[in-house]
């Protein structure tokens, strides 16, 4: 075990040393640490229930949805690929070393705990939002963190058990997959049925996901019971949930540690998959990684020179989207945008269109931080195409604009029907949405041109998100002023859209030479 502890210790030490070697990276990490620190302090000290005081039932329902979704997605992937805490280096060096597999598993667990920091980081960002809308217990924030840690420690464990069972035969895999999907569809149907009966999103969430039995359900029920104690306090579901999770994690760890283990084969495929995922993340392909590619897609390529890049990207999009330009991003942006406007209290006093626009743009910013154009940088083809760099940039980003237009039309036409909006408002929202998308795309290009390939993708994305928020501040101010002075939602939206358009054109011009040669994007 001492050699494995050496590995963990030395990895951490080298990581810290490597950060100190690069002052720019160090500054970036300091900013991130300060930002996260500020978020944590804010999470603890900010008053809870400031915007409104929603019911604990709704909080429990939301937590249940979150953990059902998280367990469903990670465990389903686990059935396909297995779950692994290990990297290729572990397979080559640790698995073949004279160390018992039980100790190797323990080492994997320790690594996994370190990995939960990323999840905690994401969770921290959601806490202010939750605190604004719910009255939390004084110990609410640590309880939410505890639930995230419990989830992160449980899913690889359960995933490995499920994979060990399903990897024996295709039939078992199929049965378990169908059982998972069947449960998911059943839950979704029950929810939709309840939604259509009550006609109220909150009531439907509470009646389906806060049923008295749900929180006692092993694993996802227990985890959400821990999270729910942030609002509900230390109730019986919490005691059962927390004890259940402790017994599950400690018990299965001890059982695994004492067993005569032979699990290396089970994690080989998962490790390979994980390795590919890391590679994709490094290259900025994390959003397109593991996307299902449709076969037999017919697409006639027209145009030459830089237009061929656009045609190629169009073909790629056709092969990976659900229908035309409709893909997972469309689903997320549309559903979250509309759901947000329903969940926001009337006291906010904003038009539903502004709510949908602001939240969908926020989601777009988070999800479109790494556009398809950046994939081109890792290959030599685009640099060799006989066309000017601005042309290449325009055509390499064209599919993103068209896709944003497609999503924008869908989102705001649906919103128009739901909230009975006028045509000019709908058109202004679509135009603003597309302009925002262009700002995110060209901010991405510009930061890449200015800072090159930064030490860590996470840091690069963080810089980009902060930059996007900062450059849009004047647009938001113009929109607020236009709204106050003219009392017109249309002018407020147009002010925002106009500013974004100016920004997008400016950023395009500033970064137009990125495809001149490899060094201009290095």
């Amino acid at each position: 075990m001492s050699s494995l502890l050496f590995l963990l210790r030395r990895t951490l030490k080298s990581l810290i040393k490597s950060i100190f070697k690069k002052p720019a990276v160090l500054i970036g990490y300091i900013v991130v640490i300060l930002f996260v620190g500020a978020m944590i302090v804010t999470s603890f000290v900010m008053p809870s229930g400031f915007v409104r005081q929603s019911s604990p039932e709704l909080f429990r329902g939301i937590m249940m949805i979150v953990f059902i979704f998280l367990y469903y997605t990670t465990l389903k992937l686990g059935i396909e690929k297995g779950s692994s805490y290990f990297r290729a280096a572990d397979v080559n060096m640790v698995f073949t070393a004279p160390i018992s597999p039980n100790k190797v598993l323990l080492y994997g667990f320790i690594k996994q705990i370190a990995g939960t920091f990323v999840l905690l980081f994401i969770a921290i960002f959601q806490i202010p939002n939750l605190k604004n809308n719910f009255v939390m217990q004084p110990y609410g924030v640590p309880m939410l963190m505890l639930a995230v840690v419990a989830y992160a420690m449980t899913y690889p464990l359960v995933g490995m058990v499920i994979y060990s069972y399903t990897s024996k035969s295709k039939k078992r895999k199929m049965v378990v997959k169908r059982a998972f999907d069947g449960c998911a569809i059943a839950i979704a149907l029950i929810f939709l049925l309840m939604l259509s009966t009550t006609g109220d999103l909150q009531k439907a969430i509470i009646s389906v996901f806060d049923s008295p039995v749900a929180q006692y359900f092993p694993i996802f029920g227990w985890t959400s019971a821990i999270a729910s104690s942030a609002v509900s306090g230390f109730t019986l579901p919490f005691i059962i949930g927390a004890s259940g999770m402790v017994i599950l994690i400690v018990g299965s760890s001890i059982a695994l540690y004492k067993m005569n283990l032979d699990y290396y084969e089970d994690v080989l495929e998962a490790t390979d998959f994980l390795e590919q995922a890391y590679k994709a993340k490094k290259e900025g392909r994390n959003l397109t990684f593991n996307q299902k590619v449709k076969q037999n897609v017919k697409h006639k390529m027209t145009g030459d020179g830089a237009r061929a890049i656009f045609q190629k990207m169009l073909l790629e999009l056709k092969k990976t989207s659900i229908f035309l330009f409709f893909d997972k991003l469309s689903v997320t942006v549309i559903l979250s945008g509309i759901a947000f406007s329903y969940l926001m209290p009337d006291e906010v006093g904003m038009s539903p269109f502004l709510l949908v626009l602001s939240f969908s743009v926020y989601m777009l910013m988070l999800m479109q931080v790494q556009g398809g154009w950046s994939n081109e940088l890792s290959k030599h083809y685009i640099f060799l195409v006989p066309a000017s760099s601005p042309q290449k940039l325009l055509y390499a980003t064209m599919t993103e604009h068209i896709k944003n237009l497609f999503d924008g039309i869908l989102l705001f036409v649906i919103s128009g029907v739901l909230f009975k909006g006028s045509v000019d408002i709908i058109l202004a929202c679509i135009m603003t949405y597309v302009a925002f998308g262009a700002v995110f795309t060209y901010t991405d290009v510009l930061t890449r041109k200015l800072f090159g390939s930064v030490h860590s993708k996470g840091l690069q994305i963080f810089i980009k998100v902060i930059a996007c928020i900062l450059v849009e501040v004047p647009g938001i101010i113009f929109a607020v002023l236009a709204g106050i002075l003219t009392h017109s939602d249309l002018l407020a939206i147009l002010a925002l859209g106009g500013w974004s358009l100016i920004l997008a054109i400016t950023f395009f011009m500033l970064s137009a030479n990125i495809f001149k040669n490899l060094e201009s994007a290095a």
Binding site: S3, T11, S18, V91, N92, M93
Partner: protein, 237 residues
Amino acid sequence: MLKVKNLSKKYEKVQAVKGASFEVKAGEIGVLLGPNGAGKSTTIKSIAGLLRFEGQITIDNHDNKSIEAKRVFGYIPESPAFYDSLTVWEHLEFIARAYGLNDWENRATALLERFELDDKKDKLGKELSKGMQQKVSICCALLIDPKMVMFDEPMIGLDPKAIKELKSIFVELKNAGCAVLISTHIIDSIDEVWDKVLIMSKGEIILIRTRDELAASGESLEQLFFEVTDSKGEETA
């Protein structure tokens, strides 16, 4: 030293290896040859203890998955992989600790010098070129002074000097009584050093021949390979 008896491995419906049996003795260099999909990688991974299988594999008379067997077994995988944040030297230090080696520093230094990596010892694994990574992988496996060592496509990415060095290392290992198993597609690369050839096709060991036996037939290793793999293909066609 390495004994493989009735090794079989099935992936769902695909029988990757069917009852393979062979032996590589101490002081012998065995070469595992075979076309793509012959079952070489599955055999290699089974020997390395990474897969579950039917049959028996022993290294130095110990079950291949036992701690005792792993202690004397060196493995150079086809694709080297390193810890992103560890330097070359730290990788060697980890191996020394994992295998409980004493006074390993001099040996590690000598290996790095031999592969012209002595000026790279403070480089991170991820900063190295593919060829250099392969060299470090070889150094890690040889550091433990193995009784049995297995190379999976060891020449890929190596420069001519490193290939020459590796060939002399094969011979040194053999002379020191180590059993060496090399899996490769590049027949020319091992033509000078092999003692026993194991040819696989469609999951089976279809031929085992020693250098002396082949010399007596007057054939080259390459001729023999194409002869048996083509005829096997025709038989099953």
